[in-house]
Symmetry: C2
Subunit: 449 residues, 2 copies
């Protein structure tokens, strides 16, 4: 009963499209879940996608459109005429329609809007386009269900039935006063089980009302919904008037994007890239980090060149350069990853920076002693005692420093409102390379000559 | 209206607890949202937490308990007697109660269960404890609302009212046949707007029914709910009998944990650690990766030692060791991060491995040429022409190899069902260090002597 897209089925669909076998398509595709149809369209060429899409019923079209991969959707919509886009938008929720339109230049947006027949829908979309994409206003939809305080349950039911036609998923009914200010919420369950004459004011919940403001950031919206375990949250304007709602599906996307972004930044990828982006776009996303790495390599070369005499004297010193840089990098990345994740979760608001750095330093001491002891034994077997001392002492020092820097840098970046995940990748490793080599050769200079 | 926990307020609460000022607590804390009260308790000592907790109403206690940080909750529950735990469990949803009990040894579980007064609740919990924590069975709750096909709407409403007392959030009503097999769903909205005599069989939706099976993995549950945009999903047993439901809040936790886990693995952290774990636990989580780094460093030392003659001949060769290793590491991590994220999303099921590796190799060629040209210029300024050639040619080669390995290793791990995020961290950098140095010194040997 659960659908799994196979190569064979996809091939069969392609054949049906090429031979314009609408009977087969109607029978085998139109009855699938919209998410499954979207998955199929993601794999088709634009021309094939168009053909299949227009075989679907209007309601299904809207759902399929919103479940396409973003890139496919943008290309698909761009291939339509303004009139066709206007028709599609009328079947969508206002927030989805605004998201799609936002990808176009202003003139095209005006053209599409002017082609829309449903004026109310057009107004809602135009209104939503005013908000910044990354705010609650940019996330919210205009479709929600509201009830007035003074309504009795039966009046509310009639109104709700009318309103509900526009609202796909009803979770909560928002209760407003005569000025349209949000005063509370009412669960559908409570309404369902109330007596017809009961007034909404006697049913609704006004305590601990959770809402967001149109200008709250999307991260804040995600945090609020997550903290309070909400599936939808009402959005109010500066006068506390109810203007929209945000549902959990939009917020899940934000949560995933946030987590992905941290991982990407820490891995040295500077803008959103998917594995199906073009070579040029991907190259551009990666080069900045490679150049930082190059700069680090050149600085490291500078540091080592200052100690050329030591290397001439004892070439074996060079053997342990990669050990020192690798360990500095690994320890730094570990410490910073912990801090980055803890900052992302907003944990421990009352832990002082000093406390965190202190703990990491302690951990550095512990792991430093373990690693330094081990490497002393190994370097001793493999080379002379002096070298074993140099490697072991400098490794210990490098680990402690890397732990402290790995912790401090993201905390400092965060304080200056720079994304701390930036620190967790190439920055920390580069810094630790240069610092580590300096420590290593300085210890070498002191102990060996 | 939105609560923000300040140091001052926390201090005031502590004072009130110490002086057992229950009047102040009742006035200033009991009316807060349960998520906010949980946030406060997270910051208190166990003794203070207990005092505050028992000032709350029973309903509020249950909600607060589930919104505590996991570690705090486990410690808090562990501080209670079996009798007290049993009382708390009776107010919780069955899945939450089972999650809490699961932390205890079997004897303790039996003791707590035997103290529970609500036999039905106890049975539900015992039943849930049979399922593996990481499966749909382990995630589901026994509280859901079901209606039989043959019921008329008014009968359904009466039954639902009875059932609804146990179900905090009602999103969808599950429709079952006379054998209790899941046959479809009914939205509360549809029920709300239907005529009293209409039978459920004429209202419910049976097309494209989405459900999961008790033994589906939690990742699969998350994927299904995400793909189909669901806020709750019914769970059936092997005979398709309806046994539970999973709600979106439990799944958001899984989505976040998955994303965090990838980032942690890639950063060299081998088990779940929070910034507030003990030093020993944190040290244990990090040491394996450091030892891999050490092993890599020792192998690198071995490689370089084979080329000791070259270094004696031209010590400046050693200057660029960190450049080679850093660039190999950065490129490898970038390539692997892309693959890891794309695998985590389940994108591109039809892209062949060869296609991905080919694309990364091409990208490696492009970035390799850019970086190699740049470094040739710099190394030329800074040193002799021969060395500039060696650094530039080997950097190019290392970048291409690192791109290919960075792509292939996670793909291969994934094929053998090993978490590909493992590859993105220390493994890739270590491998690329050793390989890169070998390339560098071999090119040096060929071009310089």
């Amino acid at each position: 009963m659960r659908f799994e897209l196979t190569k064979e089925f996809l091939e069969r669909i392609r054949q049906a499209i090429v031979s314009e076998d609408t009977v087969w398509i109607l029978e085998h595709v139109s009855d699938l879940h919209f998410a499954d149809i979207a998955e199929i369209i993601d794999e088709l060429s634009m021309e094939q996608a168009r053909f299949l899409y227009y075989q679907l019923s209007e309601d299904l079209q809207a759902d399929v459109l919103m479940y396409l991969e973003e890139e496919v959707r943008d290309r698909f919509v761009a291939s339509l005429s303004s009139k066709e886009i206007a028709e599609q938008l009328e079947n969508l929720d206002s927030d989805d329609a605004a998201d799609i339109l936002m990808e176009f230049p202003d003139e095209k947006i005006q053209e599409v809007i002017s082609q829309m027949e449903d004026d109310e829908a057009a107004d809602d979309i135009v209104d939503l386009l005013n908000y910044d994409e990354d705010t609650a206003g940019g996330l919210m939809q205009k479709e929600f269900i509201q009830a007035r305080l003074e309504w009795p349950v039966n009046r509310a039911l009639v109104e709700l039935r009318r309103q509900a036609e526009d609202v796909e998923k009803v979770y909560t009914i928002y209760v407003v006063d005569e000025l349209n200010k949000l005063v509370g919420v009412l669960s559908l369950k409570r309404l369902l089980f109330a007596k017809p004459k009961t007034q909404i004011r006697d049913l609704f919940e006004e305590k601990n009302l959770i809402f967001v403001k149109t200008n709250d950031s999307s991260e804040k919206v995600a945090r609020v919904m997550d903290k309070y375990g909400l599936v939808s949250v009402p959005v109010v304007d500066l006068q506390n008037k109810l203007v929209g709602r945000i549902t959990i599906d939009d917020v899940i996307d934000i949560i995933k994007e946030e987590a992905d972004k941290d991982f990407q930044l820490a891995s040295g990828l500077s803008e959103k890239v998917e594995s199906n982006s073009t070579i040029w776009r991907t190259s551009r996303a990666r080069l900045p980090w490679l150049l930082i790495g190059m700069l680090g390599g050149i600085l490291s070369a500078q540091v080592i060149s200052k100690f050329e005499g030591n290397i001439t004297h004892l070439p074996a010193l060079a053997f342990f350069i990669p050990l020192i840089t690798a360990m500095g990098g690994n320890v730094g990345v570990q410490s910073s990853a912990i801090v980055v994740q803890s900052l992302a979760k907003g944990n421990d608001p009352f832990d002082s920076i000093l406390q965190k750095v202190g703990k990491e330093a302690l951990l550095g001491l512990l792991n430093g002693v373990l690693c330094a002891t081990l490497i002393f034994g190994i370097a001793y077997l493999f080379n002379n005692v002096d070298l074993a001392f140099v490697v072991s002492i400098s490794l210990f020092t490098v680990i402690v420093f890397a732990a402290v820097f790995g912790t401090m840098i993201p905390l400092v970046l965060n304080r200056y409102k720079i994304d701390p995940a930036l620190a967790s990748g190439p920055f920390i490793t580069t810094l630790n390379d240069v610092l580590g080599l300096f420590i290593y050769f300085t210890v070498g200079l002191l102990l060996i000559n």
